[in-house]
């Protein structure tokens, strides 16, 4: 499902310009959406999901214009959405909550609904806890039930906002694999802070900074932004003001910089190096 965004702008009542003229074309597959807190990622996700209206610009998803009521309804029928923060009704059990969302999504046939709910409970590892009230779930379990609801109706477009927040490492790996599988047959937009997840599962990446799109391309191309600019420097060496520390260990720093530091050893960049280099230049 192709996503075409042109001149997308969102200004909130408080005059905060959350998105500022975004142009983006996602032909399909899985795309990672990166950016610092407040960069506009969640606003973009909410607009794509049809939960928020843009101030200006055009968003066309699968040929449907999201700025029209008819287009929005058509997109919503084909979209699964996981908000950044989701507190499902604590009074319902996991199974009831999924059934409720399935009904809201228009899945009227009882047997279809039941089979999807059972399948998704199993996929997110909650088959044995489906009858427990959500108020009794841990944070990770709530996140998993949120993930499950986003997959109801087998959506052709999946929008997941910080999907791994609250998941333990094992759950995160499992969900990463699930998303990768899903991305083979549909469009998945995953907004995240975890670069490792993007490197592992997203062939394409888009980066937002202060409401503007500062990068869109292959993960390898983002990594390449720091090529020839990533160094390991002994920990006892002073660093120039221009260098940005990416990571530290007792023996050495890993830095990205445009000026070669003394005794610095040039190393192959990672996605994190590329992202930090990009964000530096975007400031």
């Amino acid at each position: 499902m192709e996503i075409e965004i042109g001149g997308l702008t969102k200004v909130f009542k408080s005059d905060v310009r959350a998105l500022d003229g975004i142009d983006l074309l996602v032909p399909g597959g899985m795309v990672g959406l990166l950016g610092a807190n407040g960069a506009g990622k969640s606003t973009l996700m909410r607009i794509l999901a049809g939960a928020l209206r843009p101030t200006a610009g055009r968003v066309v998803v699968g040929g449907h214009d999201l700025t029209t009521a008819g287009g929005r309804r058509a997109v919503q029928r084909a979209t699964g959405y996981l908000p950044q923060e989701l507190a499902p009704h604590p009074e319902l059990s996991g199974r009831e909550f999924l059934d409720y969302v399935a009904l809201l999504k228009g899945i009227g046939d009882r047997w279809t609904r039941r089979s999807q709910v059972e399948d998704l409970l199993a996929r997110v590892g909650l088959a044995d806890d489906g009858d427990r009230r959500i108020s009794e779930y841990s944070g990770g379990m709530r996140r998993r039930i949120g993930i499950a609801q986003s997959l109801l109706g087998d959506p052709r477009l999946l929008l997941v906002d910080e999907p791994a927040s609250g998941l333990d490492p094992e759950e995160r790996m499992r969900f990463r694999s699930l998303l990768t599988d899903l991305g083979r047959e549909r469009t998945v937009v995953s907004s995240t802070h975890i670069l490792d997840d993007v490197a592992w599962s997203c062939p394409q990446v888009a980066v937002l900074a202060a409401g503007r799109l500062v990068f869109h391309g292959a993960v390898g191309d983002l990594t390449a932004v720091a090529r020839g600019r990533t160094y390991e420097v002994p920990a006892d060496m002073p660093l120039g003001a221009e260098a940005t520390v990416v990571s530290t260990s007792p023996e050495k720093y890993r830095v990205v910089t445009t000026e070669a530091p003394p005794r610095g050893r040039l190393v192959p960049p990672t996605l994190e190096d590329g992202y930090i280099m990009l964000m530096r230049s975007a400031r």
């Binding site: 909410r46 999901a49 049809g50 939960a51 928020l52 209206r53 309804r73 919503q76 029928r77 979209t79 959405y81 908000p83 950044q84 923060e85 989701l86 507190a87 499902p88 009704h89 009074e91 319902l92 009831e96 059934d99 409720y100 969302v101 399935a102 009904l103 809201l104 999504k105 228009g106 899945i107 009227g108 949120g146 609801q149």
Partner: protein, 263 residues
């Protein structure tokens, strides 16, 4: 139209919002005590009852005043709760429109909340039936409940739903309670400002009580004058019900508009 032909989103909202309401302790913490208080006040032994239907109307009036206050206060948080913590966003991204969700959510929670007062009215009808030696009070009880309690409760909870979207929940609860007390308890001759008491705008059920169930101790039946306080009769009782239905619809529409604007 059968249940099966209703839109899935409407069925889902009615079914699960009713379950949510039923499992929310705050609702019962408020409604059960007010229902018990209404039962204590409205209860009479068969020996004390001379007119069974009128007794039922009196008990329904007391139950309506007390329980509707509790229900309105308790349900002031229903919509604002849904708007928070991602649920509003999630529901807004489903094809189910706000003009389906909003009334269905309201109707489901109101339906659940009205169960205790309904039981109170039915229980109060039992000694009346014994006193009369017939089922007339037991038949009158649901009719009195539907015409005297439900319209006022519907209007107040719809207002509470709107206030819950516009104001912090605590303020919305206080405003809801204040509105109910002003519109039901406050007697016009005792207060320096106008109240709907004894008029066609009153949500307390006075006109239906006096017109259809023989209740005489209501403001609607006293010597109020003016266009808004016509004589008691079937016509004025029906107008009273229509006015309340209009207010209910208006409050729900406004709440829907607020919810849409927030999206």
């Amino acid at each position: 139209m059968t249940v099966l032909s209703l839109p899935p989103a409407l069925i889902g909202t009615l079914r699960y919002q009713a379950r949510i309401a039923m499992r929310r302790r705050t609702l019962w913490y408020v409604v059960v005590p007010t229902a018990l208080l209404a039962l204590v006040i409205g209860w009479r032994s068969p020996a004390e009852i001379t007119d069974g239907v009128r007794h039922v109307a009196g008990a329904t009036l007391v139950t309506g005043i007390l329980c509707t206050l509790g229900i309105g206060v308790a349900l002031a948080d229903r919509k604002s709760w849904e708007q928070s913590a991602g649920m509003g966003d999630l529901i807004a991204t489903t094809p189910c429109g706000v003009h389906t969700r909003m009334p269905a959510t309201w109707a489901a929670s109101l339906g659940v909340a009205l169960m205790p007062p309904f039981l109170v009215v039915m229980v109060c009808a039992v000694p009346a039936a014994v006193a009369e030696g017939g089922v007339r009070p037991l038949v009158a009880a649901p009719a009195a409940f539907v015409t005297m309690v439900v319209p006022g409760a519907a209007a107040l909870t719809a207002l509470a739903c709107l206030l819950g979207l516009l104001l912090p929940v605590t303020v919305a609860r206080v405003c809801t309670a204040g509105f109910w007390l002003w519109s039901t308890i406050a007697s016009p001759p005792l207060l320096p400002f106008a109240t709907p008491t004894g008029t066609l705008l009153s949500p307390v059920g006075g006109y239906p009580a006096a017109a259809w169930f023989g209740e005489r101790t209501v403001w609607a039946h006293r010597d109020l004058t003016g266009v808004l306080s016509p004589d008691v009769g079937t016509g004025s009782a029906l107008v009273n019900l229509v006015v309340l239905a209009v207010f209910t619809t208006l409050f729900l529409l406004l709440a829907g508009l607020v919810a849409v604007r927030r999206g």
